[in-house]
Symmetry: C2
Subunit: 584 residues, 2 copies
Amino acid sequence: MYRSHNCGELNASHINTEVTLAGWVQKSRDKGFMNWVDLRDRYGITQLIFDESRTEKTVFELAKTLGREFVIQVKGTVIERESKNTTIPTGEIEILVSEMTILNAALTPPFTIEDETDGGEDIRMKYRYLDIRRNPVKNSLLFRHKVAMEVRKYLSDLDFCEVETPYLIKSTPEGARDFVVPSRMNEGQFYALPQSPQTFKQLLMVGGMDKYFQIVKCFRDEDLRADRQPEFTQIDCEMAFVEQEDILNVFEGLTRHLLKEIKGVEVAKFPRITYDYAMKTYGNDKPDIRFGMEFGELNAVAQHKDFPVFNTAELVVGIAVPGAGNYTRKEIDALIDWVKRPQIGASGMVYVKCNDDGTYKSSVDKFYDQDDLAHWAKATQAQPGDMIFVLSGPANKTRGQLSALRMELATRLGLRKPDEFAPLWVVDFPLLEFDEESGRYHAMHHPFTSPKPEDINLLATEPGKVRANAYDMVLNGNEIGGGSIRIHDKATQELMFKYLGFTPEEAKAQFGFLMDAFQFGAPPHGGLAFGLDRLVAILGGQETIRDFIAFPKNNSGRDVMIDAPSTIDDAQLKELHIQLNIQA
Amino acid sequence: MYRSHNCGELNASHINTEVTLAGWVQKSRDKGFMNWVDLRDRYGITQLIFDESRTEKTVFELAKTLGREFVIQVKGTVIERESKNTTIPTGEIEILVSEMTILNAALTPPFTIEDETDGGEDIRMKYRYLDIRRNPVKNSLLFRHKVAMEVRKYLSDLDFCEVETPYLIKSTPEGARDFVVPSRMNEGQFYALPQSPQTFKQLLMVGGMDKYFQIVKCFRDEDLRADRQPEFTQIDCEMAFVEQEDILNVFEGLTRHLLKEIKGVEVAKFPRITYDYAMKTYGNDKPDIRFGMEFGELNAVAQHKDFPVFNTAELVVGIAVPGAGNYTRKEIDALIDWVKRPQIGASGMVYVKCNDDGTYKSSVDKFYDQDDLAHWAKATQAQPGDMIFVLSGPANKTRGQLSALRMELATRLGLRKPDEFAPLWVVDFPLLEFDEESGRYHAMHHPFTSPKPEDINLLATEPGKVRANAYDMVLNGNEIGGGSIRIHDKATQELMFKYLGFTPEEAKAQFGFLMDAFQFGAPPHGGLAFGLDRLVAILGGQETIRDFIAFPKNNSGRDVMIDAPSTIDDAQLKELHIQLNIQA
């Protein structure tokens, strides 16, 4: 061992102890006759002192050659510091060094290894191993491990069994976003990397495993939006002989446990709202409920006057922004411009100032009187001092626009507090959603989701109205988990495939093994999956997942550190029975 | 919830309780007026009773329709059994059923769901979800989970941090056995699936993570020998600021912990032997030391007479087989035939019976006298009643042959006891091994392994003699883990690549990121990886890994259950910028 202690554990109780430390030179301060070096490792920083009058000359001189990030080993005595540093655990002591070995020199790092670094995203990714030395990244990775361990312990204690499912599986045309792997031994054939272990966990239920979980990498070859990764990690879970209620209880318990153990936050029973309620009230199926600004629908109180914009709209809907009644005309105009940006797409926005004296001042005063505006205030729960913003247009689109505004204003007003946690369940998701592009219905969750029994008869006539036993867990405006009760009989599964546009032959070719399995005694079952990257980031109080992933890829799916993907040999291509097909 | 209790927990203390159970019909015994059904779930079996005089007629009749593996839910009362079964925890009670629902019917399974099944390997793999219902497979998966949890707890408690490394990495021509993944977004380029997270864990050490582990899938596209899988799981570990001794101590501690916690077996400090010693003494670098039969080299005592076979041999070597002195001529001839099989390849075998009276009877009595044979007995530690078998020929080949014989005889003699555990370390592996085919040296462990400092000067002159700081943990004749102290400076790494036949350009193109990293302050580091599949199987007392993997692939790398790999669409190929290249 290169050390007797690490750099985070020595304190006044160790004074006069002989110790050996090893680590990186964080910085040094050379006062000529005295030289201090901060020695850093994963556990902390310990101050070393080299003193012309007390340190042997060769060691003293060697210390002057140390650059940032040199790796050194020192022996010395723990002594009391003259000027103590109360901000770090080792701040009462320093090491009077008697021997030193430079274990490895270091080039000057391309960015500073400090909590606030001068390095941009690109350079930090290229030298990710240096970035990981910085506390914000290092602590994020340690935090992720802690969360994963707590998840495993909690679920194991509840008799869940972690089962590893295969990574080399079968491609399904349904999910065109498979990464595939050419098989050398099976000419012309390909494995796919799993987008999730969905069918395998269902087969484990058919196999009687009863309670399954797995923290598992999944893969999706999508055009990467910001903060998406081609490989991501799920906490994947499934249970047999359960109803939706059982699953909600178990995983609410898990999340509550994590919040308590990891964050010290006690959370009451999670609210449950339906998908329809979420869309009407927040314009969003993953509402952030750390703050209000719930939607007030104004059709009844805004379509009775001569304002054609509202009168022709499918939906008139507003939110009351707390304490924003004093926004200036300039601020309001900026917000109107904000909602009119193409990314949001509103054609305009009406505002109503709720004055402290109970009167109203709006941008549509020539159409609406104080009494009308009072109704609007009531519908949006506006208080004196608030500002009501109103959008109108096609219902779904308008809800989306107002939801974006709501989130933007909450951010600006500091209402999205990273240390506050407001989880909830959104339930009763639609089974199917209509895809304009392909002109047909797709499974909203996935094709194995069970329709609510009472809605099955709507499948043939109004498929869009069929609700599923599907649920999402939402935390602070993010979907952190989602799942469903599954179909567990062949007939219903065949029906689903039919409504999803599969021919019987296609269904059999792709999922025949699952439907076969359903015939050999499949129990009722259901489950859910959490996105671990996102969950960890939110628990860590961060908006982006990248620092919680050791070696993330950039938005082109590249690992810029190792420079992957890359070309491969012709010989290897040949062995895999493929050749390149590059468009000139 | 479909049940109030599971099928393994009810006992006499529950008598008169109303319960609801759900599970699979294991079997039923219909006596006409009375019908017993064994209901099974993951946790056990509970006996149900349907009694013409006490059960409602519809329920009683329905029970007669139940087939094997039907999934049912029953309500009823726990009552005392008339004839108790003391072999199962629920054997004192049965459930007098009052209500029953068939949750799912089942076709007759293609093999019996019993501990000893009538199903062959192929059919069990095709219906793996049914195979998993059988105790031997189910319990193996539960056992695997238990081992993995213990590993994680032990290492976490020692401050190891589990870090997920990427699965989509870079292909290295060195390891031609990469599975590759065509990139859609990066035309003509490929990711590779990791054969191990080796370079990433080293970069984590450069990044100051200090102690890393990960239970992680790895991939190798090899022609599959029996009991190998294209995807397999490693317990991958790395530590910074350590020497070999530290690593051996930590992971010996882990293994000792597992043996104690999982198997209740206390093991003393692991023996350590060198690679050279292992090869000389057992003909094998992963010796099974649960039994003796150590090699006795006989050159000095067998090459002084007129027996040309021995006199011209590089090595004459024997083992004493305990208690085998009474083997018949027929048995001996069968063993001689066994070692002459092409898989073993010996050209013949000499035997010496050690009679109880201290005399010897050998197949070479016309060349050697009793005194000679006494020397042989001494060299092989033979006792009266033993049989000495002697092989001769080129040293390495002959050792391999004798090792095979040693293992075969141990198996026949019942010396490889599954409940006995004899771990050891094999250390001082050679750094390089000569590959006859390519006519050059390859890294025996991998190119990042550190040569022993005292042997570095041999690299240029006698590369085959350079020893590495590399070690294997061996358990019951299996290598269950292996690792090394790594190179952590650019100059030595460049030297290694040179000796391994890389041009500087090739080294930079493939591993430039690692050598760059070494320049920014890399600490001394090392680690090891355990093969989890094998470790779990051995701890579970099994020789084969397949039952410890939920969904294994067959020897052609196929998953016969889901029928993967499979063909993919032309459109998908096109999107991935590849086309098939099938040999007519």
